[in-house]
Symmetry: C2
Subunit: 200 residues, 2 copies
Amino acid sequence: MAPLPAKPDMKDRILEIADRLFYLQGIRAVGVDTIAAEIGISKRTLYNHFPSKDALISAYLARRFVAPRPSEKPPLEQILGTFDSLERRFAAKDFRGCPFVNAVAELGSEDQPVRKIAIAFKESRRLWFRDLLVQLGVADAEGLATQLVLLVDGSIAQDLVRNDPAMARAAKAAAVVLLANAGVRVGDGGATQKSQVKTR
Amino acid sequence: MAPLPAKPDMKDRILEIADRLFYLQGIRAVGVDTIAAEIGISKRTLYNHFPSKDALISAYLARRFVAPRPSEKPPLEQILGTFDSLERRFAAKDFRGCPFVNAVAELGSEDQPVRKIAIAFKESRRLWFRDLLVQLGVADAEGLATQLVLLVDGSIAQDLVRNDPAMARAAKAAAVVLLANAGVRVGDGGATQKSQVKTR
DNA sequence: GCCTACCTACACAGGTCTGTGTACCTATTT
DNA sequence: AAATAGGTACACAGACCTGTGTAGGTAGGC
C-alpha cells in the first residue's frame, strides 16, 4: 500500500516526528513503537536508521541545537528581540519549555551525552548575548550575559508551569533595567543616565 | 527478620524515600518496586498506604510544598538571603533543580494534578517576594516579584544543566540592580540613587 | 533480466512496569 | 485468650518497553 517513496530522506522524517513526540510528551513517555506508527513505517526501518533509542534521543537534541543565525540588526535590538520572540513562542500552544533542560530533568544528570549537549547549548546562548554586549561596549559583558540567560531560562521555566506569555515581558523589562544599569542607552526617553549600582 | 517496628509512621517513611528517589532520578525512572525495596518493605505494604503511584507522586509534591516560615529578619535581607541559600543548595551534590518544574517537564502539561500543585507553588513563592517588597515600599511590587522569581527559576534551570553554583550569585547581583532601580536602598555604599529606568 | 538497497510485516525474546490476590505472621488491645 | 491491625512473602495478570530475527516485496541502475 503506497510504499511511500521515501524521498524526503527517511532519517529526516523520523527525526521530525520523534522531535514532536519527545518534546510534547516527554522522552521516556514515547516509545519507538509509537514513533514508527506515527510515521507509518515499521519499527525495523527505524532501527535501520538509528541503532538505539539513545541514539535517536541524541539526534533529537542535536537537531534542536541550531545556532542563531547572524543578524544585521543593531545588537540592542537583537537582545531585546529575543524576549519578544520568546513571548511569541510562549503563546503557541505547542511550547513546552526548553528541550535541553527538560531532557536533563527527565533523564537525570548521569546521562552524559545528554548533559554535554545541554551544557553546550546553554553556553552557546550565553556567548551569543556576550558578543552582542561587547559590541555595545558593556564592561562586564560576561556577567551581564549570564544574567540575561537567567532571565530567559527563568521565563521559560515559569511559562512551562504557568503557561503565561507575560513572563517574557517581565523578563524583557528586567533586561532593560540591567542593560541600562550597565550603561547601555535603551530607547526609553533618555531616562537612562549612567548610575551604576555596585553589585558587590 | 526484624519486622521493623514501623514506629516513625510508615507513610512518612515511604514518602521520605520516594522523595529522594523521585527527585534524584526522575519520577518515571523510579518504579514502586524500587521504592519498596529501598525501604525494605513489600510492595503490598506500599500499596496499602497509597492507592496508586499517581497518588504517591501527588503526595511527594505536596510534601515538597512547604511554605517558607515567617522570619523576623528585615525584608531586604530575606530577599537577598534567598539567593544565598540557593547558592548553598546548588553546591550540595544532591540538588537537581526544582521538583515542580521537573515534574511538569517529565509528566507533561496534561497531568492536571501535578500542574495545579506546581502552579500553586510558583505563585506562593511569587507572593512571598511581593509581600516583602510591599514592606519595602516598592511601588510595583507585583512586577518586581515576578522578575525576582524569574531570576530564581533561571538560576535553578542553569544550575541543573551546568552544575554551577555561581549562577545563584549572578542572580543575586541582578536582583540587587532591580531592587535598587525600584528605589530600595541596597547596602552597597550608597551607590544607589533613585534613578528609575522607565521600562516601557 | 538481475542485483542491490530499502522497505514491509510479523513474531518474539527478555525485561520492566503497575497493580492485585492470597495466605501467613506478629504485635497490641481488649 | 481472642480479635484486630498491619506487616510479610510471593506469584501473577496484563501491559508496555527495547531490540532482533526472518522472510518477502518493490523500485531503480547496470
